[in-house]
């Protein structure tokens, strides 16, 4: 562990005067339908990851807060704990687990007590109100040395309490684990909850679900741009399905390419300048690339079969796609210019909907196994394949989290189509949506920009 006893006081969240819908709570997680395994095994990356033991006592000062400030304070504390728990990096001992310890309240005197139940690090939070603002100071102590290794203070309106907590949680993960957190990432999806299928965005944990389009038609297949400030998507609102761009800050929508009878399934190049997509040519669907104004249209596939669902690799050199050229739909790879087309999957009778891991080593997809649709993951180098879901429920359309440790996907296991998230080994299944039918999730690469 790095030791750094600096009291970095920065990251005032004053400018973030955005409206976090305060009353919206994340949906209650569905009862676990899969038992989480005892150890976390990272698929095809080797090794068992040991969880860091973290003591997380109740935040100080929350008792002095009242009304909205008290609610915001509770939200900060619960969100930090939840973010760190969902990250999978920590084994957390909260107030209940710590209640058996004889703690004096003087941190330096309590180090041994915290260590006695195996804890390695201690997270302390202090909350206080400043008029219509809340101030949160979070500290992490190394229980070996007793030194504070990370300290951050945040100040902002009550409405941004969740964002404060996400920001701090990601700082903790970056500092202690050395990897970027995902607490500020977002998931775009399509939902028919308003009566029409529209594009929605939610936080990575299912909170704050908000509508992006209002076409009152069928809009689907959202795809984040790499910087996380715009979505490409398919919509029928102008008659034939075309691809449009929604800028999130301004709310502006404009066509990318809507000529011809069918344009769909956009996927951004990593530099954000082009999209790969599926387009119909005289009744047959082929893969194309184009600029964001529809210019420089380039055809990449040329087969008599269906070619669709392109996914641009994170390093930009390759595009994965689905083709039925060998009879059944299977995954293929090609260079981003269309050359060197080669088959990737041979298992099952139906493989479709490739999603790259952020490191570009794995592809998750929908695979039909014994008549049921499941989420499978294949290593593009070794071709080692693992099926992550089981049973009925039509599991499809996976998308990797930006840290590559989780997969969100659509399932009908509860009747309607809902979006779920699971770890890369299939464990820790949680349901993120509950209202209407929800599908076609796409997880952002960059933290939320809003």
């Amino acid at each position: 562990m790095r030791s750094r006893s600096v009291l970095t006081v920065l990251s005032c969240l004053l400018p973030l005067a955005l409206v976090l819908a305060a009353q919206q709570q994340p949906p209650a997680p569905a009862p676990d339908q899969q038992q989480p395994p005892n150890v976390t095994i990272e698929l095809n990356r080797g090794g068992v990851q040991r969880k860091m033991k973290l003591a997380f006592p109740a935040f100080r000062g929350s008792g002095q807060l009242a009304g909205e400030a008290a609610r915001a304070g509770r939200e900060v504390e619960e969100t930090v704990r939840r973010d760190l728990d969902l990250s999978g990096y920590f084994e957390i001992q909260g107030p209940d687990a710590l209640s058996g310890l004889a703690l004096t309240g003087d941190v330096q005197k309590d180090l041994a007590a915290y260590r006695s139940t195996g804890n390695e690090v201690l997270l302390l939070g202090d909350l206080h109100g400043e008029g219509d603002r809340i101030v949160f100071e979070g500290r992490v102590l190394d229980l070996g040395s007793g030194q504070a290794v990370l300290a951050k203070r945040y100040r902002g309106p009550f409405a941004v309490s969740r964002r404060m907590a996400h920001t701090f949680a990601d700082e903790v993960i970056r500092f202690l684990i050395g990897k970027p957190g995902i607490a500020l990432s977002q998931i775009a999806f399509a939902s028919d909850r308003t009566g029409n299928k529209e594009i929605f965005v939610m936080d990575y944990d299912g909170a704050d679900q908000r509508r992006i389009t209002g076409h009152r038609s069928t809009s689907m297949s959202p795809a984040w741009n790499p910087s996380g400030d715009a979505l490409a998507y398919t919509s029928f609102f102008n008659g034939q399905p075309g691809i449009y761009l929604a800028e999130l800050a301004s709310g502006r929508k404009r066509p990318i390419i809507a000529s011809g009878s069918l344009n769909t399934s956009p996927s951004f190049s990593p530099d954000g300048r082009r999209i790969a997509f599926a387009r119909s040519l005289e009744g047959n669907v082929e893969i194309f690339t184009a600029d964001l104004d529809g210019g420089n249209l380039r055809r990449l596939t040329n087969s008599n079969a269906i070619d669709t669902n392109p996914a641009w690799s994170p390093k930009g050199g390759e595009i994965a796609f689905t083709s039925s050229r060998a009879g059944n739909p299977m995954l293929y790879l090609m260079d981003a210019e269309g050359a060197n087309q080669r088959r990737l999957t041979f298992d099952g009778t139906y493989n479709d909907g490739a999603s790259w891991s952020p490191e570009g080593d794995l592809i998750a997809y929908t695979s039909r196994r014994d008549g049921a649709f499941q989420i499978a993951v294949t290593n593009v180098v070794t071709l080692a394949t693992q099926v992550l879901t089981s049973g009925p429920g039509e599991n499809e359309s996976p998308t990797f989290s930006p840290d590559g440790r989780k997969i969100a996907f659509t399932s009908r296991r509860s009747g309607r189509k809902q979006i779920y998230v699971m770890d890369l080994d299939g464990g820790n299944l949680r349901q993120l949506t509950t209202e209407g039918n929800n599908d076609l999730a796409d997880w952002s690469r960059a933290p939320a920009q809003r």
Partner: protein
Amino acid sequence: MTRKWMIWMAMPVLLTLLYGCPKKKPATPPADLKVETTTVPAPPAAPSQPEEVQQPAAPHVEDKTEDPLQSADMSVVNDELRRRGFSGDVYFDYDESTLTDDTRDKLSRNADLLKSQPQFQLTVEGHADERGTNEYNLALGERRANAVKDYLASLGVAATRLRTISYGEERPVCTESAESCWSQNRRAHMIVSGRSNVG
């Protein structure tokens, strides 16, 4: 042939020169043009017209004719065509866009009706069942719609009268997760969507 065509193409221009340009062209021809329809043989194919692509909404015109096929309400027209043996839907096997013999028979009857009523434009919608990804099913619906379009065209229905659109699995007629439902959703839906302005 080419010359006849050019005369047909030139007529709207001449009429425009004579009578000036109407502010908004009504989708249904005025009553006096109807007489012309019966005396002049319809051209083999309607020349492509940008107005048709935009599919103007059916105007609310009082229906004074007895013939349901003259109705401004396209649902009345579609009901009447189905009464005369027009198939509104043809069905497909799982992950298939090939036409079965039964489908070909139905489309043959549809083609005859369409050829006898050359004023109508047909929209062919391609649909798929819920299994598989939404994206693949959009592509599958596109192939189904175009398989129907190509077959109707091969039977002599002018391709310019035929428009296709794929809805994939997005607009199911039946929403249960069972084969009894899926088989109803694997379809091409044919609907008369407008009239050509010619004739």
